[in-house]
């Protein structure tokens, strides 16, 4: 089989991008973000992109660079508060922002990857999120009726994800809360590229503990990022009498 391993993020993206594409990227804040792939997307200068992700970048990080480079037409996200350019571009109507409840966004991506074009959720009923969407009642297990909103599945032309380890088959393992949106985004891409901290030989991952099976991953690159950033370092004081 031709190898899924590519030498760099730029090579993995080469020839795959075109203007107007839908690109999804994993990450929550600065955690679990495919930084190299996003910088390669920025360097591609592909324009009029629709970008899907929980945050679509934080100031000076990740998708912020693609946004600052004027490549984005529309974003589909849950939280823009970490990204001043985005918030300003929205206020000035330069960019179309579609806000989603975080769980709805996660489920829309999972649905898209799993061949489900639409589903119903209680989330957002009676709010502006439900405006223009179909709503209807369904019974709860106890027989009472509640109102639900119909939401659609989301897919992407290209999905960019960040994992901890990949084997050469493309099986991915994530680390701690860096998992976040990555598994669903991996499943929702027509082409999925994974940026990983370590590429391990096939057979070295526990098959019971693979988070994203290789069927979802088309290309793999080793991350060049050596230092992970922290948005809000928070600590507790060590007890004063603690013995080391």
């Amino acid at each position: 089989m031709s190898s899924k391993i590519f030498n760099s993020a730029a090579e993995a993206l080469a020839g795959q991008l075109s203007d107007g594409m839908v690109v999804a990227a994993g990450g929550f804040g600065l955690c679990g973000v495919p930084v190299d792939l996003i910088m390669a997307l920025r360097d591609s200068n592909a324009k009029d992109l629709t970008v899907i992700g929980n945050n679509v970048g934080c100031d000076d990080h990740g998708m912020w660079h693609v946004l600052a480079n004027g490549q984005i037409k529309k974003v589909i996200l849950s939280f823009a508060g970490d990204n001043k350019i985005l918030a300003q571009a929205f206020m000035s109507n330069e960019i179309d922002i579609e806000f989603n409840p975080q769980g709805t966004l996660a489920e829309r991506l999972r649905a898209g990857g799993a061949g489900i074009p639409a589903f119903f959720t209680r989330t957002g009923y009676g709010t502006i999120i439900a405006e223009g969407k179909e709503t209807r009642q369904f019974p709860n297990p106890d027989g009472t009726l509640d109102w639900f909103v119909m939401e659609s599945g989301l897919t992407a032309d290209i999905s960019l994800v960040k994992a901890w380890k990949a084997d050469t088959e493309g099986n991915l393992v994530y680390r701690k809360t860096a998992r976040n949106f990555n598994p669903m985004i991996a499943s929702a891409g027509r082409l999925t590229i994974a940026e990983v901290e370590e590429i391990v030989p096939v057979g070295s991952l526990d098959p019971d503990s693979v988070h994203t099976p290789g069927i979802f991953v088309d290309r793999i690159v080793a991350s060049t990022m050596r230092e992970k950033h922290i948005e809000r370092p928070t600590t507790r004081p060590r007890a004063t009498k603690e013995t080391v």
Partner: protein, 217 residues
């Protein structure tokens, strides 16, 4: 004297029960994590993908891959588990989380909550707030009774865009505690008054209608 932030958090902690899985919002609700009664086991969920939030890490032990929904560095605990955002909100939407304690901008007497946007101001996004109020079994909101201009934030109807309609079970303010019959027709009931605060003061500062609970006068 009205309750301060710690006292409001302590009152909210009174809603914890042994064995509960709980999601805490940012701000005052976060303080509840340190107020779990002795002998009670409560497991905290972080909607970005962790069950079993531990204390903040010591200096020098920060892990960039381990943050809470407020993007702060945290730790895990023995028995913790990690999962995707889809699985996390499956837990939340599916009613598996017993209690969420959240901040608010406005609460209405029928349990509507507004806490995510102010028209004309920078919109940050709702994050997980809409999913939490729609999915968690019991929602307790902790907020100041009045805004900075002295207007009541507990209203007959919310004026800000809603986070959820008919979702709040209990409102804890600096002045008192209200129970809200969000699924029925009984509206709001004042259950407790902060020490030194009078019922007249609450009446004067509350735009919502409310009944009086047993023993409240």
């Amino acid at each position: 004297m009205p309750w301060n932030r710690d006292e409001m958090a302590a009152r909210a902690a009174g809603e914890l029960r042994d064995g509960y899985y709980v999601n805490l919002g940012i701000g005052i609700p976060t303080l509840v994590a340190n107020m779990v009664p002795e002998g009670m086991t409560v497991t905290l969920q972080s909607e970005n993908g962790l069950l079993g939030i531990g204390p903040f890490p010591y200096e020098g032990e920060l892990d960039p891959d381990l943050i809470n929904a407020g993007k702060q560095t945290i730790t895990d605990l023995p028995g913790s588990s990690y999962f995707s955002s889809a699985d996390s909100f499956g837990m939340i939407r599916g009613g598996h989380v017993h209690l969420s304690i959240l901040g608010g901008m406005e609460v209405s007497q029928n349990g509507d909550l507004a806490n995510w946007m102010v028209p004309g101001k920078m919109i940050k996004g709702m994050g997980g707030a809409m999913d939490l109020v729609a999915g968690v079994r019991r929602i307790v909101v902790v907020m100041d009774h009045c805004d900075k201009t002295g207007d009541s934030k507990f209203k007959s109807e919310c004026t800000l865009p809603l986070t959820g309609k008919g979702v709040v079970d209990m409102l804890i303010t600096d002045l008192g505690v209200f129970e809200i019959d969000r699924r029925g027709d009984s509206g709001a009931t004042l259950l407790e008054i902060a020490p030194g605060v009078s019922l007249d003061e609450i009446r004067a500062k509350t735009q919502a209608e409310f009944a009086l609970g047993p023993g409240v006068r």
